[in-house]
Symmetry: C2
Subunit: 233 residues, 2 copies
């Protein structure tokens, strides 16, 4: 979960503490002004040190951003897993609803973090490989939900899917331990796109002048997407 073992020497303790303080200050700055506005000099000022000292802890601004991205992915993953665990295993619709609302709630509570991980990347930034692991946590949980519903036999009959589309999902199938009919995979991916796409569009203000009660509307969207996946509802 956290870093390595407990720090031993005073030096290591201090290093861990200052690292945490830098991250906290950067998070504060991101919450206030957005990820792109994070400034190492402002962090340094905030902590009462000089800008060059920060580079002892993070070799570059991009490394700081990477840490923040990983933490954001993990925070969202934790929220999603907690929501999934809060419902009875066999209540697939309830689990899907809980997961969907957890995703939206987290996004509304952390708009800049959401933009950081799902929005367009910061100027010259390219996400390193460290981020793909935690980045898939929410999707993995949603896929697991679909697979469990399939194994429970509560899904309607599968449908035909064009061969080209079926072949196009070979890489996806390699990640899933049990065989899943193509039409379920498509439905699951589309439901995932519906949820993440909705939150992104809502945070971007695309529903501003059209939807008066976003929570009620999203609740309906989540329920409809569960139904379109074949979950009874």
């Amino acid at each position: 979960m956290t870093d390595t073992a407990l720090p031993r020497t005073a030096r290591e303790r201090a290093r861990a503490e200052i690292t945490a303080e830098i991250l906290a200050s950067a998070r504060r700055q991101m919450a206030a002004e957005g990820a792109a506005a994070i400034s190492l000099r402002a962090v340094a000022r905030d902590l009462g040190m000089v800008s060059s000292a920060v580079y002892r802890y993070f070799p570059s601004r991009d490394d700081l951003l990477t840490r923040l991205i990983i933490e954001a992915y993990d925070a969202l993953g934790d929220a999603v897993d907690a929501a999934d665990a809060s419902r009875p295993r066999e209540d697939f619709v309830g689990r899907w609803m809980a997961v969907s609302h957890a995703i939206r709630d987290w996004g509304l509570a952390h708009p800049h973090e959401w933009a950081l991980i799902y929005g367009s990347p910061v100027p010259g930034y390219a996400a390193p490989d460290d981020t793909i692991g935690p980045g898939t946590r929410a999707s993995v949980t949603m896929t697991r939900l679909l697979v469990e519903a399939l194994m429970a036999g509560v899904l309607p009959p599968a449908e035909e899917v064009p061969r080209k589309v079926s072949r196009s999902m070979r890489s996806l199938k390699a990640f899933i331990p049990v065989p899943v009919p193509d039409s379920y995979l498509v439905a699951g991916l589309m439901a995932r796109t519906q949820i993440f796409g909705h939150v992104t569009l809502e945070l971007d203000g695309q529903f501003n002048a059209t939807i008066d009660d976003p929570h009620a509307y999203f609740d309906h969207v989540a329920r409809m997407s569960a139904r379109q996946m074949g979950f009874a509802g």
Copy 2:
């Protein structure tokens, strides 16, 4: 379409030309490095003038970005309208497919423009009111398509929608000249979210390791979303 009347004096001609050159240079810079990396000084260097001279044409960097946003919205709107017009009026599925592919194609061709208008805004930037008009063009076209299908009588029977959800769409209904059953509105909004959400996620690389043939997969998604809206297919 373009600016005002044809320029009269030599000064006005020059001003219009230089303004266009500034926009072109900024567009080039955006295509290369992203919108947030647009620098007025680099634009000035590119055009062989001094940085302060650019401020004679755009009072601030944000005004330049606003112009680029409006142009991007309009370019996407043109592409969408052209795609819609390319199919027979009564071929609603074909029109929806053409519009969907036009949106994705434009996004793939102009990823930074897409990020500019649908991604998280640049640091301190807040989109002014000038952008909401062109910003809704694509959505307006998609909604018109739905309304025409409704009036043609090709949609299946409407369904019940929770009262809270129905009431939540009052603002939306104010924009639509004819009464549309609530379930159609929800279906239309969800289809729109599916298309825009898909393109955003695809541009963000969220399908990278899972979907091998994004074009074929998206074509299927567009067809399925048309079906979920009730379009025969």
